[in-house]
């Protein structure tokens, strides 16, 4: 765990302690379970985003993808009576295709990631709204899918299964990002794509793979979100989720210039954001301030991190100066 991640972890614990002191109900198992459920949902989304950000890209369409794929998933199983495992596979495949198309436009046709995914943001939500004719996709009364519901919204030993899914995904993705050749290529491309190309790396494919991973994880979280809300109005479902995901990554030490960040960081970023949301509700802060609190904490977090880096560099220098002066005096 890097120093940065450790700092974030400490921040999370300090905030948690303060909230628990003010309102001890914060530590109730039910509250922790509720919050960790959302951490699971947003965490999966944020890991996907992180894979794109590490290449120096950005994926602005995730909120809309969550809306579109969620709508389709519910429609498939609730209206069209598809078997849910089939629907599940279809949705994940759609996520992969969306990622592939984005990656293709970005790497082959050399469009900017911001532009491609901004268009995605506009288009996918529009399609979802058109698909439901601006209505709502939801289950009919009494429509139940026991296994699916257990896997997505259920709990095992009191722990939400969505959170367990996040832990599993995080471990796999940690290995991929930090131990595999593919992960190393991602970092390299994020820092210097040209050089990676000169080294014989098929950078296009690697970047495309990053978008596909993002698409798949987004699709997965879309299913989780759909099963959490059990109802989707495409006009608003998942709105701003791309900002949550990006914010989690940024808080977790990712640079939008690419080539920086760790998987533990993005998870901790998600945890902090969800803790903040929980705190606003538990401490009775007006919900209108919810986003403001989130924005304020991100800003302060990034600022402290940045200033801490500057401070450390300076202290190192002063230390060196002192040592050298002492050495010179001794000579």
């Amino acid at each position: 765990m890097s120093k940065k991640d450790l700092g974030l972890l400490i921040l999370i614990l300090v905030v948690g302690t303060i909230v628990a002191i003010i309102n001890p109900r914060f530590l109730l198992p039910i509250n922790l379970a509720n919050t960790s459920n959302l951490i699971g949902l947003f965490g999966i989304l944020s890991i996907g985003q992180a894979f794109v950000i590490i290449t120096g890209g950005i994926e602005l369409s995730v909120g809309s993808v969550v809306a579109l794929l969620g709508t389709l998933f519910i429609d498939f199983i609730a209206v069209r009576d598809l078997d849910w495992p089939l629907a599940f596979v279809l949705i994940i495949a759609l996520g992969a295709i969306i990622g592939l198309v984005h990656g293709w436009l970005i790497t082959r046709l050399k469009l900017q990631p911001f532009v491609v995914t901004l268009c995605g943001l506009l288009i996918y939500r529009g399609v979802a709204r058109f698909y439901t004719a601006d209505g709502t996709a939801g289950f009919a009364f009494g429509q139940n899918f026991p296994e699916l519901e257990f896997l997505t919204a259920g709990r095992s030993w009191g722990v939400p299964n969505s959170f367990i899914a996040l832990v599993v995904i995080a471990i796999v993705m940690w290995v991929v990002l930090h131990r595999s050749v593919f992960g190393r290529y991602l970092y390299a491309i994020g820092k210097n794509e040209e050089a990676a190309k000169y080294s014989g790396i098929r950078t296009g494919r690697v970047v495309m793979a990053a978008y596909v991973i993002c698409g798949v994880l987004t699709a997965l979280s879309a299913i989780y979100f759909a099963m959490y809300t059990r109802s989707i109005s495409p006009a608003s479902h998942g709105q701003f989720y791309e900002l949550y995901a990006i914010a989690a990554a940024v808080l977790g030490g990712f640079s939008l210039r690419g080539g920086e960040g760790s998987l533990i960081g993005v998870i901790l970023g998600t945890v902090l954001l969800q803790e903040l949301q929980n705190l606003v509700n538990l401490l009775g802060i007006p919900s209108s301030l919810n986003f403001a609190v989130m924005g304020g904490v991100i800003l302060i977090g990034v600022l402290v991190d940045q200033q801490w880096g500057v401070f450390r560099a300076r202290r190192l220098m002063v230390d060196a100066a002192r040592k050298n002066v002492a050495g010179a005096a001794a000579e």
Binding site: V175, V176, R179, S180, V181, F182, R184, Y187, A188, G190, K191, N192, E194, A195, A196, K197, Y198, S199, G200, I201, G259, E260, M317, V318, A320, A321, R322, K323, N324, V325, G327, A328
Partner: protein
Amino acid sequence: MNYSDTSITASTPFLSLENVRKTYPGVVALDGFSMEVRPGEVIGLVGENGAGKSTLMKILGGVTTPDTGTVTVDGIAHDGLTVEASLGSGIAFVHQELNLFENLDVAANIFFGREPLRAGPLKLVDRARLRTMVAPLLKRVGANFSADTPVAALSLAQQQMVEIAKALSIKARLVILDEPTSSLPLAETDKLLDVIKALKADGISVIFISHRLHEVERVADRVVVLRDGMLAGTLQKSAINHDQMVKLMIGRMLKEREKASEAARAPGAIALSAKAVRTPAYPGRPVDLDVRRGEILGLAGLVGSGRTELARVFFGIDSSLGGALELGGKPLVLGSAADAVAQGIFLVPEDRKLTGILLDLSIAQNISLPNLPAHARRSLVSASAETATAEKQKTNLGIRAPSVQTRTGTLSGGNQQKVVLGKWLAMNPKVMILDEPTRGIDIGAKAEIYGLMRALADAGVAVLMISSDMEEVIGVSDRIAVMHEGQISGILDKDQFSQENVLLLAVGKQPQ
């Protein structure tokens, strides 16, 4: 395939180029060029800036494809190579411009794209094996840093060592080095030349591009000279000498260089003076240094001795952590490069691509940039004033370009360097700091730049020239200051000039 098996026939070319032609809009970079490379041969490739050397190498590295012509490797003809094909046939390439990942460590960079893998489908990096593979390579290039140092923490020269180690790590049959010594000081250069000889002994071919002709003389078996994208001539081992190369490169003999040991000049008044200045790289080592009007003060030292850092402080990019600066006897406080420029202190930085010029702007726009208000009426830029200034510099410096509206990014390295010089010469320098001013510059242009520096000094400008090229330091300077680990270890006057003295000071010893 056993790459070191050269016994087949030593004379069968490993690689040959035939009638290669490459054009860029407005420029013919290569024109009907042919050459061969035989196993175990060291070829020196020389030519003026923009002669087409890098273009040629880029074709071999698969980075660009020729318009016409064929590249034959191992008897298989290609219209153009891809990067993979090039790597696959055993061609290793150290680019003129560095291409490292500063967020990865040295080991990761050296084996980038060829990581040792653990068994399994996930393609996990075998980090232990990677470390054992890197150690001997670093030793071979004489690196003074460890394999897990992040590249961001290395100096430019150290990064170049990493690049070379990388080329060595490929079980290559041909190693291409595009100006590998341009920022390497003496000792490291020697090591590199030894490395080249060792490669040759292993039967590996080397193409060595350099503007430092004496280095070429020392290692090359054959010299290929390029001029204006065409083959100007080939010199066999016995015929390789400095003057012959120069003649082929520029089509005439260079006039005898102005003798360095003319009558010593009378030193002028102190222009820029550093009193116990502490740079961020060596905060514990105060620097005292005076640069006088009308002199060229050479600043020599080993890799990472802190010369660039000092120049950055003089130019206001970094702030001094203590001590004081004076300009013409008055205290000088620099908050930014803009302050330095306002005071007439200019810097030609060592990293051209990143800090020297704006590759996307035209020559004219680059030259006017530091002095834009002077090219403007009521804050509106006058294109004609810009063009006029740029035309003047283009003629003065002999910048080779279709016009001053050409994008600087398309110029060859040497011509880009001239643009950097041009932008400062168009203003009135009081103190001119040049960090490796002739890095990557051909011999003809070098002489011109030396002349320019001398003219500046004669006009009363204080010139501080940082250089790792020993010949240059001794040949051009009026005085030489030598840095060792962030401090000035000594200053040599003209009568003390010698390679030994500079070297002794550079390693922290006093000359006899």
